[in-house]
């Protein structure tokens, strides 16, 4: 538990809480960007430079912008807060899930995670692994992204009223 880790964790959790509690949707999207930047910092702190940079590029650069566009394209009359019963039930479920996970983390697995020498993840090794051992999953992900691209355009496209 080093100081950078604590700071980044606080930024991440604070961003997540703000993203889920603020009333205005655009503020939520900006808080989400803060949360993702904190997570990218956590990845860098854990010596996973490649994943940290991918996180910034994909999440902060693309997903948050996509969410902002979705907010801009839909109209929002200040939705009233969820009814009290639903809110209490939802918060209760999430609190129980957190308690269970925290108990599992602190009770078991204590033998792992002693100080290990920081692993090296050189870009050359990642590229080699992607091009050799994981080339089939890489191709499948490429196919999936193409399908998602086309599917998203088709779903969001304006329906023509009786073309022809």
């Amino acid at each position: 538990m080093t100081a950078p880790f604590v700071i980044l964790a606080v930024v991440t959790i604070g961003g997540a809480v703000a993203a889920m509690t603020l009333r205005k949707l655009v503020h939520c999207a900006l808080a989400l960007a803060v949360c993702f930047v904190g997570l990218a910092g956590l990845y860098l702190d854990l010596n996973a430079q490649f994943v940290g940079l991918v996180q910034v590029l994909v999440y902060v650069g693309a997903v948050v912008i996509l969410i902002v566009f979705a907010i801009l394209l839909t109209r929002h009359d200040e939705l009233p807060a969820q009814t009290n019963r639903t809110r209490v039930a939802g918060l209760g479920v999430s609190a129980v899930v957190f308690a269970l996970l925290a108990w599992a983390v602190t009770a078991g697995g204590a033998q792992m995670g002693a100080a290990v020498a920081a692993p090296e993840a050189a870009m050359k090794d990642i590229g080699g692994a992607l091009m050799q051992k994981y080339v089939l999953p890489l191709e499948v992900v490429g196919l999936l992204l193409t399908a998602a691209l086309i599917g998203a355009v088709v779903i969001a496209m304006e329906e023509k009223k009786k073309a022809r």
Binding site: M1, T2, I13, A16, V17, A19, M20, T21, L25, L32, L42, Y43, L46, N47, A48, F50, V51, V58, A62, V63, L66, A70, L73, T74, H76, L79, P80, A81, Q82, T86, L91, V93, S94, A95, V97, F98, L101, V105, T106, G109, A110, M112, G113, A115, V116, P119, A121, I126, A129, L130, Y134, V141, L145, A148, L149, G151, A152, I155, A156, E158
Partner: protein, 103 residues
């Protein structure tokens, strides 16, 4: 507390926040945001286990997270497109009013 436990606790907290938000917010977009937070919590777990696990030279955690991020991006794009389509149809993104299939 070992560093691994710290990471896992942060990740568990992130997951619970996402779950609570997805269950309690009324805007469909924010429900999607909650799901994204839960996915990110899983990614943080993968990286933490890769960093403190026994065989980091295999790069399994890093590559799994890379693929997971790609799939999460595809999921976000399709999800937001679906929200657009539903909004055009129902003129609202309030999940409480989208109950036409309610029995």
């Amino acid at each position: 507390m070992t560093p691994l436990n710290g990471c896992l606790l942060v990740s568990a907290l992130l997951f619970s926040i996402g779950l609570g938000g997805a269950l309690t917010r009324r805007s469909a977009i924010l429900v999607l945001v909650g799901i994204e937070l839960m996915l990110n919590a899983a990614n943080l777990n993968f990286i933490a286990f890769w960093r403190y696990g026994p065989h980091p030279e295999a790069l399994t955690g890093v590559l799994f997270v890379t693929f997971s991020i790609a799939i999460a991006a595809a999921e976000a794009a399709v999800g937001l497109a679906l929200i657009q389509a539903v909004y055009r149809h129902a003129k609202t993104t309030d999940v409480n009013q989208l109950d036409t299939m309610k029995g």
